[in-house]
Symmetry: none
Subunit: 246 residues, 2 copies
DNA sequence: CAATGTATTTCGGAG
DNA sequence: CTCCGAAGTACATTG
């Protein structure tokens, strides 16, 4: 989606109130991201209530109905509105006013600009299409094509090998000939995945009566802190890998 | 603080990589907020690890060292860096690259732009503080100002009194001189809060060797059915009270 | 729909 | 400094 003239981004510095309102409202109508910067006051009324006196702030309005007000400090927005709100940008006595509200729970955020020094709108091509292309099967293929991605000299022996605890994603050997169980996850893993690998390892150790401990490796794009700790406790490993190559 | 020509905001659409890098780096040097928008990939490595394939994103760099990467969805940034990082914007084989890192814990965020469609810097002055009402502290003040809101002749003796189970919100006496433990919640409470009061009451009874049973009162705007049952079972009470007077 | 648990939680305050 | 708990927590998962 783009503007009438095909430009996916519009930007003006020191616009008049009318220009700023027009850019913002047209951007919202188009489903674009809208940003406004300038001296403003902020009022919130809803689950709690807050007011913010005049100051320079950066306001971002997203097409999914979220709103963010940022100052020059802190990772958190100083005020915000969750997704699902209705954004409205209008003029009130010559001032640009942003109002963002949602019905349940009743919440309303109002930003009143003394002056807008910058207004812009950005058309975003949804990246979810791009990131959802990687399935666990893609990840499996990727590793079978290049086992070194797990670790040097890793050798897959079979996929979907059965154990009393279920089927192992990839079953193989490391450089020293030790049995390796690889569990694949297409996205960030938590403690549940650690338990899963652990059950496979335990089941195989009982099944094979193997003297050497079986190695468990969890392959996923990322891992939670807690899961990483658990994994370390159980002497297992994590390998960061995306389901698809860039 | 402003730019050389006195303009507190600089903005360009469809800049060359060199122009984008120059605006960003000069903005950072000046202590300004910097935003970049365009098609990019994002890599994070630190407490966790993640990568994002190509997509349109909005990158905000703050002078306090925080970095935020937003897509068009969600209130939360899709990637970020906490305050205290060093931001760097440089060119690599014609691409604008943002690198934001901090030493402890070792964390690094890298945004590599295929194309920057918008670059801007904003000089911010924000003198005012946010005032927030409707918090648990407001509820505490409200009761200390008018203890009868809990019940007639209730007398607060101390706040944050320590017990082996943690600090009690308000510790006091009722009309008959019996010890009362008041637990405050700024919003609707569930069974967890009942367990909390119960632990305080138990801990205090053991601590004080009190003959008379200690009373436990849960003060909140409302309570779930299940929590009300539990509270009744344990012989404790609920008082409905908003954190702020209407 | 509500209830539950995690988070690169963030943020503040107490010790 | 760390630990601990609240948050307008946000967010995903599950029943």
């Amino acid at each position: 989606m783009t503007t009438a003239d095909g430009t996916p981004v519009q930007s003006t510095t020191h616009p008049t109130a009318e220009e700023a309102q027009a850019i913002a409202q047209r951007g919202l109508d188009r489903g674009a991201m809208v940003t406004l910067f300038g001296r403003c006051t902020v009022d919130y009324e809803g689950r709690a209530a807050s007011t913010l006196g005049p100051g320079d702030r950066h306001v971002m309005l997203k097409p999914d109905g979220s709103a963010l007000v940022h100052t020059d400090e802190g990772q958190q927005p100083v005020n915000w509105q969750p997704p699902g709100c209705d954004h409205e940008v209008f003029l009130d006595e010559g001032h640009v006013v942003v109002r963002s509200e949602r019905p349940a729970p009743e919440e309303e955020l109002t930003v009143t600009f003394e002056e807008v020094t910058h207004a812009a709108s950005f058309d975003v091509t949804d990246p979810t299409d791009l990131s959802l292309t990687g399935t666990e099967e893609d990840l499996r293929q990727r590793i079978l094509d290049d086992p070194d991605l797990v670790e040097p000299e890793f050798t897959p022996l079979s996929t979907e090998r059965n154990t009393p605890a279920g089927a192992v994603d990839i079953y193989g050997e490391d450089a020293d000939g030790r049995t390796v169980v690889v569990e694949l996850k297409r996205r960030r893993v938590g403690p549940d995945a650690v338990g899963q690998v652990d059950r496979y390892v335990g089941a195989l150790e009982r099944d094979l009566h193997d003297d050497a401990a079986i190695r468990g490796i969890l392959v996923a794009p990322s891992i939670t802190d807690r899961a990483r700790e658990l994994l370390a406790e159980k002497g297992m490993e994590f390998v960061a890998l995306e389901p698809t190559a860039e």
